[in-house]
Symmetry: C2
């Protein structure tokens, strides 16, 4: 049976052109894969014709879509036929195995919550992101995964443990990191730090089967890549992730600005430019195949808003691989085992 | 009447030698200032003799102190005669106007909470930090203040507004920034983002007299220095601040590491080295005079743990200035006005 991936053809800064290009590359490379494009036929068809690609393609037409700068809440609610909403419906009706969109992140998360069923035993979805880290020690892979970065602002201890399972299984299956090291993001390393929710989550994680829990880490360990999976509530994860993005922008710009003041620095900068490009490539989000929205019975991949064809192809490869590996099923099984182990703690009495 | 500053002579990585040196410099520069050293006389006296300084000095002897890596909770509780505890008692008994310590941050915050009275109308203390930012636009000062970074992990809307007052008055009086731009750290710019506490704080801040509130900012605006005062709960502030520190470390190390691979890059790096030093100087925490612990009737300044004499001198200058300017009194007056304005909202019924 072919793997069926539904693609939001209208989402992303370079949609639909780069989305179609990346998808066609995937179709040519993966003969086992069918792509269902949701979007404006009048725009999609000429692009497909130009790429000379006909096989394993289905198109579901709609002329509605949610723009990148549109209010996600309003868009998801009022535009029922928006490409992301239609794509989610197709996914939920079991007509596809996974979904990829480079569109409005908020709209993807909200539309998933509106249309998809959760994995049994999981209460809240987690948006994970893979971010570049230092690669100084051999144990650093050069990237880590953070979950949640904005789907669930505040969490219970149980939900944080579920995030640990989601992130851990995703990394081990998709990026082939065996036994990923998992940590809670906190304000200190001691078990008793950070308030009740975090201390409870710490206790659960210590004994959670299948989780390689290494304790708490502090903010400075996030960019250092001290662990593979950083678990945190969405409010904190979102702010930390954006702080990291802002810091790397600022240091680049500030350096360039400062170094242009003197000729000798200008020369130095010029000599370094190819090195800077290499460093920049390592911190290129398109390399990591997008951010998974986890916790639903179907996998959703949010590709970067600025995705070009290559980045979108990577996101599709990840989606396909997650279906083949059964990532969602593995997460479900392990979460159910964990919930069962703690069924008395979780009784709501 | 002289300004009396109590100094924890035993706190900091280079205590007591650099602490005494920095203090002596302050005594020589500020003839209106008396310093009360709390610590081990046997260590302090020879250092003072070497500096040839006798005037405006008092010493309160103790041989207990809380080490930099000691548990703050245990230390503050069990070592009643620890230098920081004694110094706080002296401050609380009105024998001094301000306190400066380069010691264990947690111990300073806890000892302050244990020994000092809050400003009337303020419920929780805030630890503020001044951090370097981009200085690209003329409206950037090259630094911003974040409050709270770890004194109060979770806050009510009212407490967040109080932090805004603390940070705003501190910046305007100590760093001479008129009408500092104040923002809430959030996951989006809209007023309705981030949950009930933040939306309520947003509503209060819009109309708060004396506060130049510019709305919400996201994580990426923190290192960009888009505003002068970033208001957030201590849990988030602590993690964001440490993430920033970690990111700047990582980028420096990663750059150096990567750039040493090829000869041409090595040469480029060598040409840039003086520029890198200048950039580093701008991000040198010792320039900003330490982190104030605000909300108490007396001002406490936490100097950086790695303070040398110059950094400690800067922290003392800031403490002295805050007494002269009446920063604590100004914060008190404005908070009381704000509380009065919202007295119906804040009735606990």
């Amino acid at each position: 049976m072919p793997i069926r991936i539904v693609v939001d053809a209208m989402g992303g800064d370079y949609a639909p052109a780069e989305i179609i290009k990346g998808s066609v590359r995937a179709l040519k490379e993966f003969k086992d894969t069918v792509i269902i494009f949701v979007g404006d036929e009048a725009k999609i068809n000429p692009l497909l014709e130009a790429e000379d690609c006909e096989q394993n393609i289905e198109i579901v037409h709609t002329d509605q879509f949610i723009a990148m700068d549109e209010s996600p809440k309003e868009g998801v609610k009022t535009k029922q036929k928006a490409s992301i909403n239609l794509a989610m419906q197709i996914l939920n009706e079991n007509e596809a195995d996974a979904l990829v969109s480079a569109g409005n992140t908020g709209a993807i998360v909200l539309s998933a919550a509106k249309h998809l069923s959760m994995i049994q035993g999981i209460e809240r979805s987690g948006l994970a992101t893979i971010y570049p880290t230092a690669k100084i020690h051999p144990s650093n892979h050069g990237f880590s995964l953070m979950i949640d970065v904005g789907a669930t602002l505040h969490c219970t201890p149980k939900q944080l443990v579920h995030f640990a399972y989601m992130g851990s299984y995703y990394l081990s299956h998709i990026l082939e990191i065996p036994h990923p090291r998992v940590a809670l993001l906190n304000i200190g390393s001691e078990e008793t730090k950070g308030g009740e929710t975090l201390t409870k989550a710490y206790r659960y994680l210590k004994d959670a089967p299948g989780i390689n829990f290494v304790g708490n880490i502090e903010g400075n360990d996030v960019p250092r890549g001290m662990v593979d999976v950083v678990v945190t509530e969405g409010f904190v994860g979102n702010i930390v992730l954006k702080t990291l993005e802002g810091a790397s922008d600022v240091l680049r710009v500030a350096g360039r600005y400062a170094f242009k003041k003197r000729l000798i620095w200008k020369v130095g900068l010029a000599l370094l430019s190819s090195g800077v490009k290499q460093l920049k490539k390592r911190t290129d989000y398109s390399e990591y195949g997008g951010a998974p929205v986890l916790g639903f019975k179907k996998l959703v991949i949010k590709a970067h808003g600025r995705s070009n064809a290559k980045a979108f192809f990577n996101a599709l490869s990840v989606a396909r691989r997650s279906v083949i590996e059964g990532v969602v099923e593995h997460i479900g099984e392990s979460v159910q085992k964990f919930n069962q182990q703690h069924r008395i703690d979780f009784l709501e009495i």
